[in-house]
Amino acid sequence: MTEANKLLSQPELAKASALAQKALAELDRILIGRPALHRLVMVGILSRGHILLEGLPGVGKTALIKCLGQLLSLQFSRVQFTPDLMPGDILGAHILQQSNTGQREMVFQPGPIFTNILLADEINRASPKTQSALLEAMQEKSVTLLGTTRRLPLPFFVLASQNPIELEGTYPLPEAQLDRFLFKLEVASASTETLREIISSRRHGEPPMPDFSLAAAELSELFRVMDAIYLPGPVADYIARLVHATDPSSATATAQIKEYVQYGASPRAAIAVAESARGVALLAGRPSVGFEDVREVFIPALNHRVLLNYKARFEGQTSAMILSGLLNSLKETDLDFSAGVAMAAEKK
């Protein structure tokens, strides 16, 4: 048994898992009524991924991201995306300044992107040019301006919110941009009970301040534990088969995918699923990723990476519906039973 193949010890995993659970519980306490969403957001943070929240105005997207910024006690910046926002407004710019010696020189003034958590509010209101300014930063955690590449502080998260693209004055994010987000999470309207609780317990809707925050060192420890979560071979194979099956030209693609999907998910999607599944395992206190972890994160990780054709839009098919069908049809294991042998679907 090599060191690389060794599983995490129970005590260190328990400590990390408890920390993550505590942060999640705090998030649930501050923002009412969306534990599933909060759980996925926490998984996204643990996976060091960027998260895109989509929902109508006022449903609490920005509040969630702000709360997360407070909870993580990391450097936090907010950019309100507008149609006239320019890339330089985000990345920064070189400004001509006079030094103490009287010499004038171009000095780089970093933009709001040089932070740990960037809140890109209403990201789809900016023009594609400005949206594309985030591409390098999101993938490579660096910014290149005038031939000079500058590293962004780590960890670096982009937590973006966007209005549904059907709304007026929005620019849909290009596929390359979308692909860089780990999750695209739908923020639905709150339920009646949630609304009642909000208006009865929150004055002016202001959420309470968090009682607890994750220090940078604690977050680093969580990331270290995350990296040590074991991904078994059959689970990795399951992820690969799932992602490969989203390609309509694949032999394992479902009839729905063949009919409605124009382009399938990229390898980055498989990485995203694997990483986020590790986050789920960590929250569950397990040293290994199971099939159920993959199933939990598969749709949020892929629903913005699968490009549907016009027929799907015309017939009201969504990515989530198609991916759900794929999850139900593809077997978890690679047991290739001969025709006539069926495994009961019932699970313990």
Binding site: L231, P234, R286, G290, E292, A342, M343
Partner: protein, 514 residues
Amino acid sequence: MEPKPQKECFASPELAAAALKSRYFRITLLLCFLRYFTILNFAAGACFLILRQIGHAGDIFSAVFLCGLATATGLAFVAARRQTSEQRGWLAAIDAHNGSGGLLMATEETGDTGWRDRLPGQVEIPVLKPAAGNRYMSAGLSLLFLLLSLTIPVVGRDTRNDPRIELRELERVAAGQIEILAEEGIISPEEARQLNESLERIGLDSQRHDPAATFEALDQLQEKLKKQAGASVVKNLSEQKNLDELAELAEKMGKAAGQNDDQISELARAVSKGLEEAAGDVGIGSGSEKLQRALEKAAAGGPDSAEAAREAAEALQEYIDEQQAKAAAAAAAAAQRLASARLIDRKTFESLKKAGKIRPATEADLQPGSQSELVMCEGGGSESGNGQQGEGQGDGVGGTQTGGQTGSGSENGSGASGQAGRGGGHAPLKFNRKSSEHNVEFKNEVLPAPNEQALEKSVAIGMSFSAPQTSAGSGDDGSQAGAAWQKTSEGSAESGIILPKHRSAVKKYFDHEQ
């Protein structure tokens, strides 16, 4: 409702994986066997149908099928084994089923036992079910096909590859005749064996391209059998004749008692001699001791010879009556069996007729279910027939129909007593009576008008060669045509008529030529 499959739990993941693998192997074995069994059945059924069609099916088929079954089982075993060994991920399936979150797989892959205590204590395995509904149905259908291929009659069987003639029916009849002759003691068991061998040889040596030789051989065999049967009947009749002569002597001896002593002695010696001859020829015993003593006393002459002659005459009469009763019963039974076996030839028939051993058929004999083939007169010809038609003669005697018209004789109408009831006998033709075999009635139908007059007015415009057209017997002349062959001038059944037996031979001959 389908019963819920029982869950199985195991102490360790390894045991659970082994159990799951084993279960998969069993199910796969069943499915593979069903598949190969279905293929085997269809193939075997088709092969057997073809073999039956060309006339080569035999017992070897069972052996070949059993070998095929063993091969199918072996193939299924190998295929199931291969499919099972190729499968990977048994532990993953168990992990997924138990919701272990990858712990089972991770422990297996890394060998790290640090999380053993977090593994489930009892590992369940998923339920594998054979979804073989269609395969069961296919296998059932194939089995049905196989059974049908073994049982359904072959239509239009091509016997071109078989050089022999189909003689089964004829062989069966002949074998039955031989058996009856043997049972009646007419031929010895050794003779019966030889005859059977001859019969078998005829069948084996038969050639489709030369059926005449085979049928000639069969006819000769039949003639031989009939001769044997006839000899037996003649022997019985001879015994009867001897008894009649003895009866005549007894009567004379009785009359001569007290009148002429010399004649008494002479008659007594004649009776003794007749008894001895009868005993030597036909097996009649030499009488009782009382008869012997009376005969000796009468032959010796003297004062008591008249009394002895009367006693001898009485004893002799009793003895003759007894022997006649026995002989009549034996003769009737034997003749009945011989007639049933169609072993009475023309000559024998004449003998029986002359001896008054045949009576005309009655209405009861013609009823459906009647087993009468040749109606014998048990009372020595005392019954009289109706005398409407003559008896069948020649081969018609040995014909196949009861009271039929084949081989009908002359219409002399003499109707002597004890006429034959077969071969177109006296029985009235009633067309409204139901057929004894098929339980159907003749249909009254008006025949079409004759067209000879139209022919007289017709004009010949040409000639062509074609098969002769058979007339349905229309017109005055035509109406007689149907019965004309029955009324041949001599009343003989042998006057150029193709009998059914020979007709089939001729038909087979021409079928072969075609």
